[in-house]
């Protein structure tokens, strides 16, 4: 048995695994309720990746820390988050000048790397590695404590006594290692909170702001899961598929013992197989798409030809799920979730609208209803985006080298519109090569062969992805009933009824409705409500969605403390 670290939580002592997240420790000890909102509602882990700002707890007296982004390295004292917790008085040693006139701001440190890559997922790392090998000086920033992104989710805890790393972990570790060895500077725990024209970024690194003015940059910020706005979707115990997968893949902790997984897409199947391997009971996998039948044969064939390894992985997950006797319920979605004595009670509905009579009781519900691109930095820079009606999201306008509408600003992977991790890997090579050339470096011949292979691989992965979308096409892409007391905006607790009232007052733009109802004004910056609001407003007024129809991007794209901005922190 490995050493554990004691965590004080509301008077109890919990045993944390070194390197796991605080969210994982609390979850493993049966804690689902992490904080209460302004209106007194309980909240817990939802996105598990630092986006939703719902798992806020007080750590050693500092309020509003994200449990999912807090890595356990030493004993800490934790309390549930509460609205408007008192501020701690600054210590005299906090670096704040005690008297006399304010003498101005400390200029943040300025760094000018040749190439700045934002996001250390498969796409960002592969681009960084290629460019560095071609002679470019590359710095990579990532918000998480470990590189790898959401696909490679590196194991943060010791392998002793837990299921060891699998092939997906190991491929990620190898890529991270190769990038480091090639000389790429990877800066972890470095959230980029601002992007400014023409191509400047500001990140918080060890409690201070650093400005980056690179000669070129690649934004590879990935994606986050969409919400599924049904009654009960904000309850503790309801989390995204990615959040549950992060608990398991980084900390080897289960989100709960009895789990229902619902959504649309193959990741849900992978999660089911992983949780089963960890000993959880999966009540069912509820899939909005129909079961693949004869009609999908063409698509399945295309997938098999384009990416046989991925298809084999998928078949493996399916086998595991079937072997454990887990039901896969197709053409079905979650209609509502209710808190009951023993956990959560879930009501399902057929995509046609008919409610299923049988309710399912579980500890945890995972929602995996697709993704939204994390394009906020690109939008803040003013890169042109087009609305993709098929995927219901903005796609970054780029040429075949990944160059956006702004000189020197490149983008790749899921933040530009979804393509999957394998496509991002190949795209990284293509974009890395283009950036290296644009910066005046001539890659060696072997590297150019690699690039040629990546071009083919990218084409294959895109064929695979299109076929995959065909297989998973569902007639229902949003909850049927978006009305009443169901929350649309998690942060400000705005309901669909409040939105309807604002529309009835004649307000006709997302911005006006935001100012009227506070929708999207919270810590998460409208990550979950904004696309839904935009869709509803555009539908009502017969407009098509575009980059101007939703909220204007705002900095900071993630909350940042005043101490981190001023560089005069109490902790640094």
């Amino acid at each position: 048995m490995t050493q554990t670290i004691p965590i004080e939580f509301e008077g109890a002592t919990l045993r944390a695994r070194p390197g796991e997240t605080l969210a994982a420790t609390l979850t493993a000890h049966g804690v689902q309720d992490f904080r209460t909102t302004a209106s007194g509602q309980p909240r817990g882990v939802f996105c598990g990746m630092g986006v939703c700002q719902d798992c806020l707890v007080e750590v050693d007296g500092v309020a509003n820390r994200r449990a999912c982004m807090t890595k356990i390295e030493k004993p800490i004292s934790v309390r549930r988050g509460a609205h408007g917790r008192p501020l701690i008085a600054p210590s005299p040693s906090a670096g704040v000048n005690v008297s006399g006139a304010f003498t101005g701001t400390d200029e943040p440190e300025l760094r000018e790397p040749e190439l700045l890559v934002i996001g250390a997922g498969p796409g960002g790392l592969s681009a960084a590695l290629f460019a560095q090998r071609a002679g470019v000086g590359v710095t990579v920033l990532d918000e998480r404590s470990q590189a790898g992104g959401q696909y490679y989710k590196q194991l943060g805890v010791s392998e002793q006594g837990v299921l060891p790393a699998d092939a997906q972990h190991r491929r990620g570790a190898a890529l991270i290692d190769a990038a480091r060895k090639a000389g790429v500077q990877i800066i972890a725990d470095a959230p980029v909170w601002g992007a400014f024209e023409p191509k400047e970024f500001i990140a918080t690194v060890r409690g201070r702001s650093i400005r980056f003015r690179p000669a070129a940059c690649i934004v590879a910020a990935g994606a986050y899961e969409r919400g599924w706005q049904v009654p009960g979707w904000t309850l503790p115990g309801v989390m995204t598929t990615g959040a549950a997968q992060t608990l398991w893949r980084t900390s080897r902790r289960l989100p709960g013992q009895r789990v229902l997984i619902a959504g649309n897409g193959p990741l849900n199947l992978q999660l089911a197989a992983e949780l089963l391997s960890g000993g959880a009971t999966v009540a069912a996998v509820v899939e909005a798409a129909p079961a693949p039948g004869l009609g999908s044969l063409d698509s399945l064939l295309t997938m098999g030809l384009a990416a046989p390894a991925l298809v084999a992985e998928g078949v493996g997950y399916l086998r595991t799920v079937k072997r454990h006797g887990v039901r896969i319920v197709n053409d079905t979605v979650i209609e509502s979730i209710e808190k009951v004595a023993g956990g959560l009670s879930v009501t399902l509905a057929h995509v046609s609208g008919a409610t299923l009579t049988q309710r399912i009781e579980v500890d945890v519900v995972c929602l995996g209803y697709g993704f939204e691109p994390a394009n906020e930095l690109l939008r803040a820079l003013g890169c042109v985006h087009d609305f993709d009606p098929r995927r219901r999201q903005l796609a970054t306008r780029r040429d075949e080298t990944g160059l956006t509408s702004i000189a020197g600003v490149y983008a790749l992977g899921d933040c530009t519109g979804l393509g999957g991790a394998k496509a991002a890997l190949a795209e990284g090579v293509v974009v890395g090569a283009a950036v290296a050339a644009a910066l005046g470096h001539a890659p060696a011949e072997t590297l150019m062969h690699e690039r040629a292979r990546a071009v083919n691989e990218l084409a294959r992965q895109r064929r695979f992805q299109h076929a995959l979308w065909n297989v998973y096409a569902s007639p229902l892409t949003a909850p049927r009933e978006r009305c009443g007391d169901t929350v649309i905006c998690r942060c400000e607790e705005v309901t669909f009824a409040q939105l309807d009232a604002a529309l009835d007052e004649g307000l006709s733009t997302a911005g006006a409705i935001k100012r009227r109802t506070r929708i999207g004004m919270g810590r998460c910056q409208g990550r979950y409500c904004a696309p839904v609001l935009d869709e509803i407003v555009c539908e009502r007024f017969g407009r098509s969605r575009d980059e101007m129809s939703g909220f204007a991007p705002r900095v900071p794209v993630k909350p940042v403390t005043i101490a981190e901005l001023s560089g005069r922190g109490s902790g640094s």
């Binding site: 302004a38 500092v62 309020a63 509003n64 609205h83 408007g84 917790r85 008192p86 501020l87 701690i88 008085a89 600054p90 906090a94 704040v96 005690v98 008297s99 006399g100 006139a101 304010f102 101005g104 701001t105 400390d106 601002g194 400014f196 024209e197 400047e200 500001i202 702001s209 400005r211 007052e505 004649g506 307000l507 006709s508 733009t509 911005g511 006006a512 100012r515 009227r516 004004m521 919270g522 810590r523 910056q525 539908e539 009502r540 007024f541 017969g542 407009r543 705002r554 900095v555 900071p556 909350p559 940042v560 403390t561 005043i562 101490a563 901005l565 001023s566 560089g567 005069r568 109490s570």
Partner: protein, 396 residues
């Protein structure tokens, strides 16, 4: 449900057209409707003045304006008596329309950190008292008692009891709803491209067609300049893009509207618990547009100063920043009929335009309906601008 399409004006004729749907335009439209006029209010949207306002109720002279525009101090002084009345009028207006603006008149502090800065406040307060303002000076000990949240750097302050704050989001929404209840026709997302004088009245060429009005009020902030220009009138309003920050919620901490004797800042806590930090750090205008965008140097500078003044803000997170437009002329508002263009009125409130909004709207409504405003309107008359223009032309 079939989509609602807004692609033409709901009417082609109106008694009064109000251009601009900010706090001044909304109030003015409501007052005119109360007096029996058929009012159409046209708003281009995308403006960032009232919709971006941070909710300070200003009364004492802002050190920022005095520092940046010393040649306009005489103008500020002429407008000064309107400010305390404007704050009182906000309260009266809130009661009259049965609204809740989350208004708090808990006083405003202008903080000095050095004896020299304090000396500046001594001189400023003397002049303000001469002009009828109620202000007092606080030394360190007194200041600590009423504002324990201030850090050790605070040396003294000027307190103006009738300063305060409100929630501009709530104000805008409730004033809009009131105007609609009174029968004002509001046309959103419609831009007036030019004005044309006909006799009697005006034709407005808009992006949704043309509209005829007997009277026109221009409450379009910085947009007023081009509109007036289209009809041959001179109204030199300049946009001043400014930066604002808001934090997550904190428990009640900062009672006052806090400013600085020498540096640009306003700092206050809203009823949500969020702290709004702004007060004149510059934003930029997006290239080729009148849309203001955030400058990171202002974000860092503004919140660093806030932390210096109120050290316990250090751990609070900034969750959003935005930029808005202040409208500047010459230190005074421009309120009233444009010379030589009967029926065309300017409604530009002047610096701290949100504070002055409802009161100046009422004054203009009085002028437009032939009532006595009860205030000498001569200092705010657009006539002075014509004189300025003539002088400029003569000098060429």
């Amino acid at each position: 449900m079939s989509p609602i399409r807004i692609d033409e004006l709901p009417c082609r004729q109106t008694d009064v057209a109000v251009i601009g749907g900010g706090i001044v335009g909304l109030c003015l439209a409501g007052f005119l409707a109360q007096r029996g006029r058929a009012v159409t209010l046209i708003d281009a949207g995308g403006s960032s003045a009232s919709t971006a306002n941070a909710g300070s109720l200003h009364v004492q002279m802002q050190s920022r304006f005095m520092r940046l525009f010393p040649q306009r101090v005489a103008g500020f002084e002429q407008q000064l008596p309107l400010y305390p009345r404007a704050v009182e009028y906000w309260r009266e207006f809130e009661r009259d329309i049965g609204a809740d603006f989350e208004m708090k008149v808990s006083g405003g502090l202008m903080v000095a950190e050095t004896p020299e800065q304090f000396e500046f406040l001594v001189t400023k307060s003397r002049r303000e008292r001469e002009l009828g303002l109620s202000v007092e000076l606080l030394e360190r000990g007194d200041l600590e008692r009423i504002a324990p949240y201030l850090g050790p750097a605070a040396y003294g302050a000027e307190l103006c009891a009738n300063e305060g704050k409100l929630n501009p989001l709530r104000c805008n929404a409730q004033v809009r709803a009131w105007a609609v209840r009174l029968g004002v026709t509001i046309v959103d997302r419609c831009k007036v491209e030019r004005l044309c004088a006909i006799s009697p009245g005006f034709t407005l060429a808009t992006t949704l067609g043309s509209l005829q009005a007997r009277q026109v009020a221009v409450a379009a902030g910085p947009g007023a300049r081009a509109l007036m220009d289209s009809v041959g009138a001179f109204l030199p309003v300049e946009p001043e893009p400014l930066h604002m920050n808001i934090t997550e919620a904190a428990p009640p901490l900062i009672l006052h509207l806090v400013q600085h004797a020498e540096r640009s800042i306003t700092l206050k806590q809203l009823s949500t618990g969020q702290v709004v930090i702004g007060g004149g750090w510059p934003a930029k205008l997006a290239p080729g547009s009148d849309y203001p965008v955030v400058d990171p140097a202002s974000l860092i500078g503004n919140v660093s100063l806030a932390q210096y003044m109120v050290p316990s803000l250090a751990q609070l997170q900034i969750i959003r920043t935005w930029a808005g437009l202040n409208s500047k002329v010459d230190g005074r508002g421009v309120l009233g009929e444009m010379p030589g263009l009967p029926g065309l009125h300017a409604a530009i409130p002047g610096d701290a335009g949100y504070t002055l909004g409802p009161l100046t709207a009422r004054l203009v409504a009085d002028l437009m309906t032939g009532r006595d405003p009860g205030v000498d309107m001569q200092p705010y008359s657009p006539m002075r601008l014509q004189e300025e223009e003539l002088r400029a032309l003569a000098g060429q």
